[in-house]
Symmetry: C2
Subunit: 191 residues, 2 copies
């Protein structure tokens, strides 16, 4: 097994009523359903616009327990939007990583392993939606069209969502081991 | 969304005490933990040799709730082993599909959608182990070295494991819609 690495620069929690925006904390302890007290906590959730294959409101397994972003992709987003910074709080991220620049391209099934013994599974790209764009626009009223531009620019660089494979604690400053899921060459029919 | 298709040729259940070998049934009803009564049923399971990143016996999320194989890959396995057939029962499979030949190469995160409204998520290739080889060897005593040969030959053609995303019923003859997870081009560091 080949391990890559990343550092947990920040740990964040979505526990402010009425918003998905996260706030920095020193550490969180995961169980099988995510981070207790976080907005996205749950073994299941209701399907929405991201799951058009199920009727809206269907109870499905929660594969979006944690949102993870990379500092390098946030910097790139900021640059492309003409802003000083794009903060993980505005994206509703739970983890800000550094040292793994192209996080969004991590294949589903890859693992993020914690020093505490716990482990996350990458469930795929977190496709951009308008909500973080609205937050960013509200904070930068003199920049035009940030909502639309965020949704367009953030594709393939807005981070990933993860589910919990093995409970554990995540502490700011942790070194993660990343185990990349090998990719099969796709058959022509599947492309 | 581009859907591919496959037919459920057989539905099988591992409910015989003392063995992983499955038997054909008309249908099964899934809940979030898999097929009630099946050997692999559970929201969690104990880690083993397939998860060397966790100490053996650690409670982890059960991403191996269902085993799915393709008739075409079973036929190819049989041919390469010099046998008349390799039956899904011997592989402990819960579903035998036809019409999606390279099932084992389906990327993790892809969905198998059921006519009942339920859905499975591909958790990746089911890497071959010795147990099915032992069953096949015991049934073909005049063929030499089938255990070792099975483990070697079955790589990348022994099917996939799935978890339940949305409960439902699977009936023999069902037409599945398959939603292939798009693959990002891997960064050199990740290869």
């Amino acid at each position: 097994m080949k391990f890559l690495a990343a550092t947990v620069e920040s740990v964040l929690l979505a526990d402010t009523p009425g918003t998905f925006v996260t706030r920095r904390v020193d550490q969180v302890t995961l169980d099988m359903a995510g981070i207790p007290g976080d907005l996205h906590y749950g073994l299941t959730r209701r399907s929405g616009g991201r799951e058009p294959m199920y009727p809206r409101g269907t109870e499905i397994r929660n594969r979006r327990q944690l949102s993870v972003v990379s500092a390098e992709e946030c910097d790139q987003l900021a640059q492309q939007l003409g802003l000083d910074a794009v903060l993980p709080e505005w994206l509703g991220a739970n983890l800000l990583l550094r040292g793994f620049p192209h996080l969004t391209q991590l294949p589903p099934g890859s693992r993020l392993l914690l020093p505490s013994g716990g482990g996350l599974v990458c469930e795929g790209e977190n496709a951009p939606c308008r909500h973080p764009g609205k937050i960013i626009q509200a904070l930068h009223p003199t920049h035009p069209h940030l909502i639309k531009r965020f949704v367009s620019i953030a594709k393939k660089q807005r981070g990933i969502v993860c589910s919990i494979e093995c409970p554990g604690t995540i502490v700011q400053g942790d070194s993660l081991r990343i185990l990349v899921e090998p990719i099969a060459r796709l058959q022509p029919q599947m492309v």
